[in-house]
Symmetry: C2
Subunit: 165 residues, 2 copies
Amino acid sequence: MSTEPAGEPRWLSDEEQYAWQSYLHATTLLEDHLDRQLQRDAGMPHVYYGLLVQLSQAPRRRLRMTELAQNAKITRSRLSHAVARLEKSGWVRREDCPSDKRGQNAVLTDEGLRVLEKAAPGHVAAVRAAIFDRLSPEQVGQLAAICRTVADGLQPQGADLPWLR
Amino acid sequence: MSTEPAGEPRWLSDEEQYAWQSYLHATTLLEDHLDRQLQRDAGMPHVYYGLLVQLSQAPRRRLRMTELAQNAKITRSRLSHAVARLEKSGWVRREDCPSDKRGQNAVLTDEGLRVLEKAAPGHVAAVRAAIFDRLSPEQVGQLAAICRTVADGLQPQGADLPWLR
DNA sequence: CACCCTTAGTTAAAACTTCAAGAAATGGCG
DNA sequence: CGCCATTTCTTGAAGTTTTAACTAAGGGTG
């Protein structure tokens, strides 16, 4: 479907290989760095922090599970487990959806909000130190454009992530 | 040390927030996509594939554990587990280091090489489809420069990754 | 040589993710 | 209404990663 065994594989050029290698190094180092920073300062991994952020920005600090999963770009299964953990920690609470009896809302608790507000400055500082203080404004724009393009090509339609058509 | 609780946190500008959001979406989607692609076509996650690639490019298809971990930007612990699994699959073999009795070499087996060669075309195609076929040559250069800058700022010196000084 | 600090790598346990399967409600459609 | 495909979300098991502790060998230094 996406990777049929073509006759002659088109390998990457030297520039592409270099870019790819650099990308892999940067992203794994950064992900590691932020995971450790948040685990240390907020007691949760980066993805979980991202879920709290999403909830904090949502209308009544609540979001349907599926919508939250879409926003965070993770599977519903992963979200189920994550919310279970966040619930156990007291940062998030589940709530039945009134209009659809199948549905659940994830709700950011007051305590969750406090944890988030406490962790946010340090996290922003870490992101800034790792990225935005090191890139020129032009590069920030370039990065955004590149990422948008890549993400647009990946909005999944198979497996467990059939959002967007 | 890196994230002291400064008096007034400098939040991200709108452009920065947008870039950061785009980055997070693109990288998680891409990582997911490649993990699935390789799990399906090669029976291993992306990181493990990267280990095989590193080994295949090393002098005698072998590398000291620590060096391999450095190249792949992962912890030694993670590598230990990964190699244990790859060994069980028969793609990699461990070997005592002659010059240092503490040391181990990870060696790519013939079978590992075959698996790699079989998976490589499809993987390159996936990477190409997701990134390089969608970006202009200028963007590829920009991406490399940006990633280099970010990675340079993250070469860790704490915890379990004390490489580079 | 004896001591001690460092380096190489492993391990167990806990945490997290993935995968496949499944329960329950919804929404057509005849 | 009755049926069936779809959507929503959860679950258990297997696989992966993290963290901290640990063994063993190197490498000074006195």
